[in-house]
Subunit: 343 residues, 2 copies
């Protein structure tokens, strides 16, 4: 059902495009906000006006050269990120004007979406921000990483890093639901307080102030059965040194190294995987997308019974996108970082 041309908006489309590969933290002049015309639609395409963009550490990894699990963003391309918006024009049978869709629009006002793997329609009336956190790839990563990859069992000790972040905060709460001892690792006393007092973690280690090794020994007296790793670096190494027999490390990301210009050393304690018969397994939430409707319903039930809180940290305006992304790395955020582009 091609759109009546009268309904195709015309006018400017602000886009944040990559100008050079960042060295370290993304700098304002690594990108440029350009204004282009709203694109015309080819057959099978629809136009989405972004309302909320979701910031994930992996967005920064896509800006580095080289093959990852998705192709790197090329110079001149819009910075890829997830987002939710309204379909405002359509040349695709999959979408009608007014639909709400979740996709990878990138940092821009208007994006072309297709009926593809990365795009899904949301029911009318959906509250948008949670669709980027607990009901989005973040919630999927937390669930799959802890349950499928971490194979968590009741009574085990679970450690999660970036504990006050979007994923970590969900992981810890789900592990509590499973009857685990849950120890977070976070970067400020406020975040540690938040996950213990507000989210019910048993303890939280401040990796900037505490002696990691001593703190892990204190808070994980029976060692660590499952480690959900969002950060890599010294925290991963320290937890490997405290692994329990048959311990599992679910590698979700490595926020501590995405900004490094030289590849940092790997975890020297990896040989503990032999002594402890441990497993370290990487995963990508998107691989499990087909199971997401079912998992989302589980998460929804937990949110509704009050056992799972989700927190969003909102930045206002497309112009704040770089600052919002960097908040993940400077630790300025608590919960899911979203950018409100339009209402």
């Amino acid at each position: 059902m091609p759109t009546d041309p009268a309904t195709v908006p015309s006018g400017p489309n602000r886009r944040i495009v990559l100008r050079r590969r960042p060295q370290g933290l993304l700098q304002a002049d690594d990108v440029e906000m350009v204004t282009e015309d709203i694109p015309e639609l080819a057959e099978g395409e629809a136009l989405m006006q972004a309302e909320l963009l979701g910031m994930d550490a992996t967005v920064r990894s896509w800006l580095n050269e080289g093959e990852g699990y998705l192709p790197a963003v090329e110079i001149g391309e819009v910075v890829r990120c997830s987002g939710i918006g309204r379909i405002v024009a359509t040349n695709s049978p999959a979408y009608e004007v007014g639909d709400i869709a979740y996709s990878l629009p990138g940092m821009q006002d208007y994006a072309i979406v297709r009926d593809d793997f990365f795009t899904s329609k949301l029911p009318p009336g959906t509250e948008l921000a949670p669709m980027l956190s607990v009901y989005g790839a973040t919630g999927l990563a937390a669930y799959v990483g802890l349950i499928d990859i971490g194979r968590v069992r009741e009574g085990e000790t679970v450690v999660v890093s970036a504990a006050a972040g979007a994923t970590g905060s969900l992981v810890g709460q789900i592990a509590k639901r499973y009857g685990c001892r849950v120890v977070g690792v976070a970067g400020t006393p406020e975040k540690c307080r938040f996950v213990v007092e507000e989210l019910g973690f048993d303890a939280c280690i401040d990796h900037r102030r505490d002696d990691l090794r001593a703190a892990l020994k204190e808070h994980c007296p029976k060692r660590v059965d499952v480690y959900f790793d969002n950060v890599g670096g010294p925290v991963l190494d320290a937890v490997l040194g405290r692994l329990a027999q048959g311990g599992r490390v679910a590698l979700c990301g490595a926020i501590s190294v995405y900004n490094d210009t030289h590849k940092p050393p790997g975890p020297a304690n990896y040989l503990e995987l032999i002594n402890r018969r441990g497993t370290m397994q990487g995963f990508i939430a998107l691989d499990h997308w087909d199971r997401f409707p079912e998992i989302r319903e589980t998460l929804r039930a937990w949110v509704e019974d009050g056992s799972l809180r989700h927190v969003e940290h909102t930045f206002e305006g497309l112009g704040s996108a770089v600052e919002a992304l960097n908040a993940l790395f400077t630790g300025a955020n608590t919960g899911k970082v979203v950018v409100r582009v339009a209402d």
Copy 2:
């Protein structure tokens, strides 16, 4: 059935005991060969006269301080190693004089053995050397690491390091039996030639002469599904960089680092485990001991049908034990290193 005291041998027992913790390669004066009386037997004990001792890289790891999967050998204790010998006196209902047993006697002429996890009787007429290689913990490690941990499937690409060593040579041959493309990594042109021409590997990379990354790209055009790691270090790192989607790394040991006095950096490429949805898992062959009778029969059938060759590299005399152990690290051996203590 206590032994008739007349049959208890008396006389000297040569023992190689640890004098100080080695720094790097085991030095002759890190140990001392002492001569003590043959010990008396308490209730439940039997005396084994060692005939062959088996050298494994893990023997060196037991000499380092700290908790491994077995306790460290203490200063003054005999250097722990596997071995096979004859029961020459018994105060245990589990053994009769004349029995042949496999145990962890350590580097000495006579050892006390018990009816325990580490000791098993062998059928009369057993050929001894293969019991330390293909029919011993070495064969078990090769089988379990490749089949259970590596979850190898027909048509996959398998890489194994220390390819001409006791374990690696078996792993590669078993993988060929499974219809895999098999690429070895070894330290000399002669070893590479041996595993390709004599054992049927598809290719072998000389890690001292070849550019590891380029060679892996050349010999593993479809990347690496299973990596059986005996060495750690730069080889592990390079193979992680060439991992296939869903690739598995079975961590058997890390011969390249056991002698290091400082913990070397871990594998910087571990993040490929995320991009490639890979798994790195450590294992200890002894954990699978209960399945060994069944696995040994499988290995025996393969030896008998000619598809599995085992190679032993024999050193003569207890006095050669340090040299024999070091051969594993200097790369002087091909196949299983055994020390003949007595006939």
